[in-house]
Amino acid sequence: MTVIIETKKLTKKYGSKAALDSLDLTVNKGEVLGYLGPNGAGKTTTIRLLLGLTHPSDGSATIFGEDATRHAADIHKRIAYVPGETNLWPSLSGAETLKFLANLHGSIDEAYQKELIKKFDFDPNKKVRTYSKGNRQKIALIAAFATRADLLIFDEPTSGLDPVMAKIFRDEVLAAKKNGQTVFLSSHILEEVEELCDRIAVLRAGKLVELGTLDELRHFSAVTVEATFTGKPPSVSGIKGVSNIEIHDHFLRCNITGSIDELLTVISKAKPVSFLSRKPSLEELFLAIYKTPSGEK
């Protein structure tokens, strides 16, 4: 499998504080990688390092096999990037900005750009300073997708977009993936990540704490079990791996990690009238990761 992004012990320190600490990460060709973490976890720091805007304190990052800092300009021929807060020149019009960005990048699918302008319902005939945040974001997205770059890097790209436009964004990411493009997506919108991403990386305080497919992450996490009984629910507090027990009248809810056999035996003996077991959502996984003390899994 072709590796598009590879970081080895990538570290960025500001003074004595590590904004990113020994990040080891690979992103493969055609993959959509979700990059999660709360504010200040080091997501944007990672992206700025990948783009060569900042220099690593230690370790390295390569994109397409080339050093991300030293060969930034060459790498950027095959990259398109959309930041969360797009800084565009206020005196230019939308059309001028799209033209300028296309010229700077050097390659553009003009027909696709026109199609994107329509899809995103964007009016390019206004000055950038008059656009709302969402519309400025649309310019950046249209410019990025229209390059059909091998690697798309998004840093919270849908902030400011309405749900309809966010859906169009997701469709375009899926189309890009189908087209063989690689996507690095940093986002706070977990549904978006859940829908789009093949693998998910979770950062906390500059460290990578989880990396894998959603199913792999779930494997290490608790399963939620809910059951209703005709009588009083059985006691499950002594069962290994059970946590977060909630009991209301005839209703029982708890989480379980590891083997579920003993819990099933106890519940079935108590004659349940309903039983539900479900995998945790990404949101539940994310919250669970952040509830555990630093460094623990």
């Binding site: 220099h55 019009s93 700077l104 000055k127």
Partner: protein, 541 residues
């Protein structure tokens, strides 16, 4: 749980104060030194009243000198001499500071979206603007007090003999135009949609009123026009020789009328809108959008035009009065010394006057270089540079191209100003060799290129400080140059001034050797700066 409450009004006043106090300290110290430091030097150069009277008579016979100076009568006494020498410049600086500060505080903050979180709190647009302005008012008063203290302290010299009260009035006179244009900035911030436009409206008025006052001072028949300019009101205040306090009133009246009007506009209009309607739609023009280099040129077209006009105006003004000024002032040895020293020629006073035009051109080009390096830093701070550098563009190439554009602009403006000097000299009967003048116009930019190189190095190492250090170097050079026209300065001090290397003598064989050295050092420093820039992090605001 006990809930702590804060006063939003107090918070905004503190915000306004914190945003402006640094500028206030700088302008306070600068104006205080400029207005206070020259009395003693003047007393040393003109020790007796007879010489001073003769000097004033000479100055009065060339009213055109008053365009960039105060009224000639102020040169009668060391206590008031600085009014003649520097009032035009200091009031201009204070006015620009006032205008830039209020447009930044109000329209600038609004344009950057920083007013929204403030207005989401327990306040209104009108109250927020008012309290931010009050915070700025504190800084403004501090600037006046610092200036006053500096002028008063330097005026204690028995040879100068400036009373504390007169020093206070002098300081007030310096800052009255600042108050006028700060108030105007409050108004234009409501009228215009962007800070740039609010500033442009204000600068248009400022240039007109400054020129009006200059013309009123230079042309005897137009003397009454100074009654209609805030710069003229400072002249009429006459703070040292014969104070006329009534001339404080026009500025106060303007402020009292304009600020409530502007606050009313702030209340009436929507956030993000302006009183003057502006179309959201724009016809697209795609010229010079083919590359980052092209766009840099596009961005610099208007600044280039404005700086060129400024250089032509100054060079042209001094050239146009060269012959008549030289004839009138040649009987004053001290004045001849000043002009000869500043103009870089000790043989012919007319040529020295033309050299003065060259010195002002160099000064303008030095300031332009500092402004341009500041603008490069702003591109980075605002995040526009991120948008460029995530494209296939080499960092070092980007900065090199910007520096080349700046160097070409500097050279072009110098040559245009040199040609202007030659043309005006020809028209006034002073025959000069155009080829020699153009060569001198080229060598003149050596020190500017050196400053650009140093600025590039600073930008590569300490981006936030680059422009500030450049301004300090320029002011230092100007102060040394002015002082050396009065006093005998040690050669080693003189050599620390950038203007020492920027002499322009229209008849002298160009000093290509010094130019080559300055150019070489400038290029070396710039190359170091570009190299450092490529190695450092991009730092946003």
């Amino acid at each position: 749980m006990a809930k702590r409450t804060f006063s939003p009004s107090r918070a905004m006043r503190r915000f306004g104060f914190r945003q402006t106090i640094r500028g206030a300290l700088i302008i306070g110290v600068l104006s205080g030194l400029m207005m206070g430091a020259q009395g003693a030097a003047y007393a040393a150069a003109y020790p007796n009243q007879k010489d001073r009277d003769a000097f004033v008579t000479s100055l009065s016979s060339v009213p055109a000198l008053g365009f960039m100076a105060g009224e000639a009568k102020n040169a009668l006494l060391p206590a008031s001499y600085s009014i003649y020498k520097s009032i035009a410049l200091t009031t201009l600086l204070a006015a620009i500071w006032g205008l830039m500060t209020t447009t930044r505080l109000l329209r600038g903050q609004e344009e950057d979206g920083r007013l929204e979180p403030i207005l989401a709190g327990r306040t209104t647009k009108m109250a927020a603007s008012l309290h931010i302005l009050i915070g700025y008012g504190y800084s403004f008063v501090i600037a006046i007090v610092i200036s006053w203290a500096a002028i008063a302290a330097l005026g204690l010299d028995p040879q100068v003999d400036l009373s504390i009260g007169h020093a206070g009035l002098l300081s007030l006179g310096v800052f009255l135009p600042g108050l006028f244009f700060a108030s105007l900035g409050v108004l234009t911030s409501q009228l215009a949609l962007t800070r740039g436009r609010a500033l442009a409206y204000g600068l248009g008025v400022l240039l007109f009123l400054f020129t009006l006052r200059g013309a009123a001072n230079s042309i005897t028949d137009w003397n009454g026009w100074k009654h209609f300019s805030p710069f003229g009101w400072t002249d009429l205040l006459n703070p040292v020789l014969d104070p006329q306090l009534i001339w404080i009133l026009p500025t106060l009246a303007f402020t009292i009328i304009v600020i409530p009007l502007a606050l009313f506009f702030a209340k009436q209009r929507d956030l993000g809108e302006s009183v003057l309607p502006e179309s959201q739609f724009a016809r697209s023009h795609f010229y010079l959008l083919g590359s980052d280099f092209g766009y840099s040129i596009r961005q610099n077209i208007w600044p280039f035009i404005w700086w060129t006009l400024g250089a032509i105006a100054y060079a042209g003004l001094l050239s146009s009065i060269a012959k008549v000024g030289a004839d009138a002032l040649s009987s004053s040895p001290a004045f001849v010394k000043i002009v000869s020293t500043l103009g870089g020629n000790h043989d012919d006073i007319v040529i020295s006057f033309l050299g003065l035009g060259g010195m002002f051109t160099a000064l303008i080009l030095l300031v332009m270089s500092a402004v341009s390096i500041g603008s490069i830093r702003r591109q980075e701070a605002k995040g526009y540079l991120d948008t460029i550098l995530v494209q296939p563009i080499h960092r070092s190439a980007w900065l090199t191209k910007r520096l080349i554009i700046l160097a070409v602009m500097v050279l072009a403006i110098s040559l245009i100003a040199s040609y202007t000097i030659w043309q005006i000299a020809e028209n006034t009967g002073v025959s000069l060799d155009l080829w020699i003048i153009l060569q001198n116009g080229t060598t003149l930019v050596g020190s500017v290129l050196l400053l650009i190189g140093a600025g590039a190095l600073l930008y590569g190492v300490l981006p936030r400080l680059a422009a500030i250090v450049m301004y300090v170097a320029i002011v230092w050079g100007f102060v040394v140059d002015v002082l050396k026209s009065f006093l005998t300065l040690d050669d080693s001090i003189d050599k620390t001034s950038l203007l020492h290397y920027a002499t322009f003598t229209p008849t002298k064989t160009p000093d290509w050797e010094t130019f080559t050295w300055l150019l070489g050092i400038g290029i070396f420093l710039a190359a170091l700066g570009v190299w450092r820039f490529a190695k450092r992090d991009i730092v946003n605001e």
